[in-house]
């Protein structure tokens, strides 16, 4: 399919530590594209550089060299207000924890990105209620984060990430702290919004079950993409088996 990719990553390098001191090269040249509406997984052993890569893509950290383009816009050198605007409008993220502001109710957490954009207050409530319905958290909107279960918290975080209709959604082990039932619900929800709203999703995980929800999986080893796996027409169960097999050979 010759569509323009929503995100391109070109020759991305990241070296930790200042020149002269002890240095560690976490990423050694990463190249890949994400098509609009694609659901991509990133897997790899602990310490292989998954979080490092995601932080770079989500503008939370600067690469040492290389370029990331989202929506035709190079993002690695954005600064100040441009960077803030970009984060607020084009991307959404969900992390393993520390997702929500515990001083605000679920409703306020979800509405925050809209308030930051100074969206007219009349439009805020319907928008929040719409995503909340979609994610099944309508009943918890007045709760504070410490009054929510882990799964509910992640769904609130997802709602907040989705409310400004981002071009791409990033997740760093969003199911990491959840039990299998909550994890499944969250992943089903990802699949749903991916299919219904054509939101591109990039999911970092080390869990094969979570990864089996993706359409394409990139395996990272020692700071490079070692292998790529496509689901194509496979059922999720078969894809899961394939992932397990790949991991078995890949990790050696």
């Amino acid at each position: 399919m010759p569509t323009t990719p929503i995100m391109t990553v070109a020759d991305l390098h990241k070296t930790y530590g200042k020149a002269g001191s002890k240095q560690y090269e976490a990423l050694k040249g990463i190249d890949f594209d994400v098509q609009p509406g694609e659901f991509v997984g990133i897997m790899g052993a602990s310490g292989s550089g998954k979080t490092t890569l995601l932080n770079m893509l989500a503008t939370l950290d600067q690469p040492t060299s290389g370029e990331v383009t989202i929506h035709q816009q190079p993002i690695t050198h954005l600064k100040g207000n441009q960077l803030a605007d970009f984060r607020a409008k084009e991307i959404g993220f969900i992390f393993q924890d520390f997702n929500l502001l515990e001083t605000m109710t679920a409703y306020e957490n979800i509405a925050l990105p809209l308030m930051l954009q100074n969206v007219a207050s009349k439009k805020i409530r319907p928008a929040v209620e719409q995503v909340a319905t979609q994610l099944g958290i309508n009943d918890f909107l007045t709760n504070y984060p410490n009054e929510l279960s882990g799964g509910q918290k992640q769904r609130v975080a997802a709602a907040r990430a989705l409310i400004n209709e981002p071009a791409i959604l990033f997740g760093d082990e969003p199911t990491g702290a959840l039990d299998s039932k909550s994890a499944r619900e969250l992943l089903d929800m990802f699949t749903k919004i991916n299919q219904e709203q054509a939101v591109s999703i990039l999911l970092v995980t080390h869990d094969p079950f979570s990864a089996s929800y993706c359409q394409r999986i990139l395996f990272i080893k020692d700071g490079k993409i070692g292998q790529e796996l496509r689901r194509d027409q496979l059922s999720r169960r078969d894809f899961y088996q394939q992932i397990l097999d790949t991991l078995g050979t890949f990790e050696q």
Binding site: N81, D85, R87, T103, E108, P113, L116, S121
Partner: protein, 594 residues
């Protein structure tokens, strides 16, 4: 176990530093206050009115209350820091008794160490501040010393006592709570709710009790010590109730406005409501401290302004010279006096004979108070005949040489005067436009006269300059107390607010990080910080100002002038200090959080 405790201590040294320096500051200031309050000699020496003793008792009790809340506050900070750690210890299987010992020890250790350092720091501060005040205000202090053992003991006993209680409280709080709850005890939100009836009652009771307090302060003469007690209880209570009701109501109400949906406004409101219990307490304390500091400085400045006024009310002339030399007369002329007169006289051991003609040619001015107000004067011209009858003729005697002060003045016709055998003397009196400008010259002239008087027995000088010295000596102690306490309370206020704000920094840091990740611009973040801290400064400031305006009523008893005279000056100075302090806190906080 001890190693474990120590390791988490190392880990959170920054928080401990905030806690520790807060406690040191608090005990230092308490010591500063007590150094004045327990120094009986100093108080006796410097207060012509016994009321001042009551005022100090009032201050002592109030400061103890504030210290109580402060320590309670510091303690809950310590507790919240350690809850997680102790919860973990318990999960790993540590015995409760052992943990209890550890908590007890830690609280006491931190407390006692902070108190001792605080007392030392307090002594240093007392030295510095008193030195500075004596220098800049030209005060004379007697019976005052920076180290006062009673004060140190009082401070130590109070603080150690409070920490013993705090330790006990921690022990019970921690060992009675299940481990899991300890682990998740941080950051429980407060759900501010509107209970219209309850809040209306709170406002009513608050306003009424503050009203009673104001009334008590303005009727201190009738109520004496009881008035101070009443004012103390009612004003503290009223302030707290008022903040409690109004603040909750304000936050909840503001959230409903469209304005609250824009930018980070909602976030700021949530921050405030999340910590609303803490905030109402701290706001009440800050309002009280604000009132105390501003009140003390205003009073001190009131006394300071009073001295030249009283000097001016005592005489129409700046200085008098007996038989000035030619050089002295030249110096006087260089001051461009607006009034000057030379009166010839001959003195016996009982009587001073003046030449009435001198007074008819150069009338003598007396100052008269107008109406009931003691500090408004008018000048009145007197010839010899008028002066003889005037109630104010003692003002001439005051200007005479010391040997002549108590002698009777008699005005003679020129003929009778010339027949007297005694040697003729000259009394030169003069006034300049602004007598405070020429103090160095006056001092010089006075010294010369004093030297000459050894040989000629013609005595010293009188007038406004002399009056200024006398009144300044009388009021120095009061002035000093005012300014000293003003500085001490301001420092306490600063440390209270700083402590409150810094103790939340760690949690806020995470929140602001997250906002940054969500795409908040830096200017939005800064604005949110500015607003949140501004609320903490403005609200208590307003209440504090109102308290002071009413509280000044108390000083009607002590002050000759109205205590409200010229208060814009101390208020202005205080506003600048307060603004500067807001700015400093904001900068520190921005550095910590952003």
């Amino acid at each position: 176990m001890f190693k474990l405790a120590l390791s988490s201590f190392k880990h959170r040294w920054r928080d401990y530093l905030v806690l520790f320096s807060g406690l040191v500051m608090s005990s230092a200031i308490f010591y500063m206050f007590e150094a004045l309050a327990t120094n009986k000699d100093f108080l006796k020496q410097n207060s012509m009115i016994s009321m001042i003793g009551y005022v100090f008792q009032f201050g002592s009790v109030l400061l103890t209350i504030i210290t109580l809340v402060y320590i309670g506050y510091a303690n809950s900070f310590l507790l919240s820091m350690r809850k997680r750690d102790y919860g973990l210890f318990m999960l790993v299987g540590a015995r409760k008794g052992k943990i209890g010992q550890l908590i007890w020890l830690e609280t006491l250790l931190v407390g006692i160490l902070a108190t001792i350092i605080g007392i030392l720091l307090g002594t240093g501060l007392t030295t510095g501040v008193s030195h500075l005040l004596v220098q800049t205000l030209d005060l004379t202090l007697k019976h005052f010393s920076a180290w006062y053992t009673t004060a140190a003991l009082v401070t130590l006993v109070l603080y150690v006592g409070l920490f013993l209680i705090a330790g006990l409280f921690n022990l019970i709080a921690l060992t009675k709570t299940p481990a899991l709850k300890l682990l998740h005890s941080n950051d429980q939100p407060n759900r501010p709710q509107l209970h219209p009836v309850r809040q209306i009652i709170e406002v009513l009771v608050g306003v009424i009790s503050i009203g009673i307090g104001y009334w008590a302060m303005s009727h201190l003469i009738d109520l004496q010590l009881a008035g101070i007690g009443i004012a103390l209880v009612t004003i503290v209570l009223g302030t707290y109730l008022l903040f409690n009701a109004v603040f909750v109501w304000l936050v909840v109400l503001l959230k409903r406005f469209n304005w609250a949906q824009r930018g980070l406004n909602r976030f700021t409101l949530s921050q405030l409501s999340f910590r609303i219990r803490n905030y109402t307490k701290i706001l009440s304390i800050v309002a009280m401290l604000f009132a105390l500091a501003l009140g003390a400085i205003t009073t001190g400045m009131g006394f300071h302004q009073q001295v030249p006024l009283m000097a001016q009310g005592g005489s129409a002339y700046d200085l008098s010279l007996v038989n000035p030399t030619k050089a002295q007369q030249k110096t006087v002329n260089q001051l461009k006096p607006i009034r000057q007169a030379t009166y010839r006289y001959k003195a016996t051991t009982k009587v001073i004979y003046y030449n009435a003609a001198d007074f008819n040619q150069q009338p003598f001015y007396t100052t008269h108070t107008i109406g009931k107000k003691q500090m408004s004067f008018k000048l009145v011209k007197n010839n010899a005949q008028q002066l003889k009858k005037s109630f104010y003729n003692y003002q001439l005697g005051d200007l005479q040489a010391t040997v002549n002060i108590n002698k009777k003045a008699v005005f003679l016709s020129a003929k009778a005067y010339h027949q007297l055998k005694q040697p003729e003397m000259q009394l030169v009196v003069f006034a300049t436009k602004d007598f405070q400008k020429h103090f160095t010259t006056f001092k010089h002239l006075t010294k010369q006269q004093a030297k000459r008087s050894v040989n000629t027995r013609i005595g010293a000088t009188g007038g406004r300059y002399y009056g200024y010295q006398v009144f300044n000596g009388m009021y120095s102690g009061l002035e000093f107390m005012g300014f000293f306490l003003g500085v001490a309370f301001l420092a306490m206020l600063a440390s209270c607010l700083m402590f409150k704000i810094l103790s939340g920094a760690a949690a806020d840091r995470q929140r602001y990080r997250m906002l940054d990740k969500l795409g908040t611009t830096r200017s939005q973040l800064k604005k949110a910080l500015r607003q949140e801290i501004a609320v903490l400064f403005i609200l208590p400031g307003l209440v504090g100002i109102v308290h002071v305006l009413f509280g000044l009523q108390m000083f009607k008893i002590i002050m000759v002038t109205s205590p409200y005279q010229g208060i814009w000056l101390p208020f202005g100075i205080f506003a600048i200090l307060y603004l500067g302090y807001y700015w400093l806190t904001l900068k520190i906080y921005q550095r910590l959080v952003l």
